[in-house]
Symmetry: C2
Subunit: 176 residues, 2 copies
Amino acid sequence: MKILLITGMPGSGKEELLNVARSMDIPFLRMGDIVREFHETSGAAAKGLSVGQVANGEREKHGKDIWAKRAIERMSGDIFLVDGCRSLDEVNSYKGLSDEVYIIAVHASRLTRYNRLIKRGRDDAPKDMAEFDERDNRELGWGLGSVIALADYMIVNDSDLETFQSKVRSEMEALR
Amino acid sequence: MKILLITGMPGSGKEELLNVARSMDIPFLRMGDIVREFHETSGAAAKGLSVGQVANGEREKHGKDIWAKRAIERMSGDIFLVDGCRSLDEVNSYKGLSDEVYIIAVHASRLTRYNRLIKRGRDDAPKDMAEFDERDNRELGWGLGSVIALADYMIVNDSDLETFQSKVRSEMEALR
């Protein structure tokens, strides 16, 4: 089974990539969903623990690759996308569990990403460039830059949506 | 003056980019050359100091942006390429000194880069994948991944040389 780890800076276009994958019936899961679900069902939420505390607590208890293990348990078929890989530790967890792990990075310039997040206007949209840079730096601090630099496939998303969708589609066709 | 900071992992194709720039009469300098020249002419080499010691010593004495300052003093014209930017500290040194600083990243997959370095066979070619990964990790440890992740332009170099050269040429034409 090919495991494709999707990575990219905030606003680069990861969600659009997942939309294309969905339209091609390629299954995917989000690391964050697995952690949040566990947080709810394990009773940790009721005890007042945060999602981050639970994520780290489980890593300490069961090893750094516990979330990758739990994610893989849910996978089936020939190809699976995983969203939310932000550090080489996580990448290496997957690589330790499977021989067919590939990193797919989506890239857009800082200014393009900023304008997109503003236009998208989600609850977590930055209120200004300083807040945007702060979020970038937080994610880079987790090692996101190293994951992007080591990507097996780099999809540049710096023009219009149709061009990007068509690039993603042909990359996915080649991979499956 | 536009200052273009060239970045990329070992074997990604930075040298080929510089060859194209040279053929277009776009001037460039290497951060490493400036430091090595200073190492020779300042008498530090004669005192037995290493290039790295001199680089750090000058930063401590004159500030983190000393090498960017010395590089800019040598620049003239409308556009200038700088090779050898490996950390956001260095990028920010340039951004603090000029309003027109852009990061241009060259990307290729780990396997493509490894095969290229082996084929190129320079003195510093890795003897195996472990040595190659070690060098990758050393450069990522300096923050190279963050510089790549924040690139204003990402040029993917994953097919043949002619395709890459033509991508670089059109990017450079658009920039100058």
